[in-house]
Subunit: 318 residues, 2 copies
């Protein structure tokens, strides 16, 4: 199979590329390197089956040309800044909705029938049902990031109906692991390196969150795309556990051997659109034979170790 | 109150403008006249409290300037061609998603906190629950039209959360009545005028559909926007009944006094993304004291009479 991956220089995209190459497939990686890292693609670039094309998903001619000949599109390129949506209201629309449309339409034009998409568990807004299943009540969006991802999901489903395509949509919890560059572990680690004596935490620290390790995430993606064959296949991807933000802080400070004074911005939410409780019902993907190997604590510890081993990432533009 | 209505020269927009003016409000109508009709605004234009601005919702400077000073935005401008989405895949995205974003952002920039939106019952895709309530299971989109409207809903909800706005989102069934210019009644009537001896029907004619009369629709919109005060207020708008397409054809041919031979394209759906059964649970808006005055049959009969009285509309670009 020849796979086309948008966001191939990103966290999940580069890990997915490595796995597909290890499985013997051809991979064309596409990335504008706005937040992706050349270094993340070094293992892939060592393979003769990997081609990298630097380009933007909004550049339709370049995108359409690069995708030519692919059998399967993994659309992972996105604006991943969940927290700062309200500072630039149109960015999520442009990168996560219009961008998704461009990738989808390029697939249609190229006659590519299989399409996978990295959505987010945030599309459930603030759900009433925990763990939250894929068919939870029709949610009300609470962040521009999730609204734009949800819009992408809808466009993909409509393309499947309208143009005979087949899609796999993944609603991720936050992902941890090698090449992680966005989120609370790197934020806390950066700030604790600068000042190990204190740590300011957004919200009340009691927000309950789920995380999934990137190797487990990639394994789930490959299980789902090879073992489910509906027209539109929607999967939650997460673990069956959650931790409080305060727990995460404890794992990190224990590992660093420090005891910073914790202060809190207060409130149930860390930022506008933050969901105070994320726990997804992942029985649908588990029924296909997948289960995660790492616990959340192991994931956080491994992620911090990775960041300690790769200090260049702390200063990189991501 | 000073209301700003996009799509003010359209079917629902012009009826809403008339009612708001009758209630003593000021109305600024905004429309690019691509499918709206100057004639529809004649009653409104007789009022000193009505201002019309010809402009496109994608023209941000014109839109933002026209909206200045309004207290409340009714965003009704849209591509209303539900059936032909797959013939021009980007049109729904541009007009119904990006267009909605532009109107929403112009409201934000102008400091307007109240925003109402014409969504569609089609956002439920092909639901499993009938009558379908607003909190039905998270749907899978089946048409570009509904996907783009659903995307608009999500953006609006996220703006409410992010920027302290308040929204009313209406999921309409098909609307009938004065100034109706799109849908099965006009399609059948045009074809029966050309050839009263036969009528070709898309699908098997057994599609079950709900319809609401435009006066009832406008009344429901005004009840909902004045009597519900949540951050995001989502309402189904329809009747508690449905008819088969074959029933509709019978009402029309009875009224015309003809008995055309009926042929069928076959299949449960009239077109890609057509939902074989639409029946919305409207108890949420009924609980506010609203109920429809006309039955579906009365609505169809009145609509046909309106078309007979306004033959210019049969040839108008709508």
């Amino acid at each position: 199979m020849r796979y086309f991956i948008t966001g191939a220089a990103g966290f999940i995209g580069s890990n997915l590329a490595d796995q597909l190459l290890a499985d013997g497939h051809e991979v064309v990686g596409y990335d504008n390197l706005s937040s992706g890292q050349e270094k993340f693609m070094e293992p892939a670039r060592a393979s003769a089956k990997f081609t990298f094309v630097r380009g933007d998903i909004l550049d339709v001619p370049a995108l359409t040309a690069a995708m030519k000949g692919a059998d399967f599109v993994f659309h992972l390129a996105a604006n991943a800044d969940v927290r700062f949506g309200t500072e630039h209201p149109s960015r999520d629309l442009e990168q996560n909705t219009i961008g998704t449309f461009r990738v989808l339409d390029a697939a249609r034009v190229n006659g590519i029938k299989k399409f996978a998409f990295s959505s987010t568990g945030s599309v459930y807004g603030e759900p009433n049902v925990f763990p939250t299943p894929e068919n939870a009540p029709f949610p009300v969006q609470t962040s521009l990031y999730a609204a734009a991802k949800c819009a992408g999901e809808g466009l993909i489903s409509a393309f499947c109906e309208g143009f005979g395509m087949q899609a796999w949509i993944f609603r991720f919890v936050s992902i941890l692991g090698e090449r992680y560059s966005h989120g609370h572990v790197i934020d806390f680690y950066k700030r604790l390196r600068a000042d190990p004596s204190s740590l300011h935490i957004l919200g009340d620290g009691k927000q309950r969150k789920s995380y999934l390790y990137v190797e487990d995430c990639v394994a789930a993606i490959l299980v789902a795309t090879t073992r489910s064959e509906a027209k539109v296949n929607i999967f939650n991807l997460g673990t069956d556990e959650y931790v409080e933000v305060n727990d995460s802080v404890g794992y990190i400070t224990d590992m660093l051997g420090i005891s910073p004074k914790r202060t809190y911005s207060g409130g149930e939410r860390g930022w506008v659109g933050d969901s105070p409780f994320i726990l997804l019902d992942c029985s649908r993907v588990r029924a296909l034979g997948w289960k995660p190997k790492l616990t959340i604590r192991e994931g956080i510890v491994n992620t911090l170790r990775y960041l300690q081993d790769n200090p260049w990432l702390l200063d990189a533009r991501t």
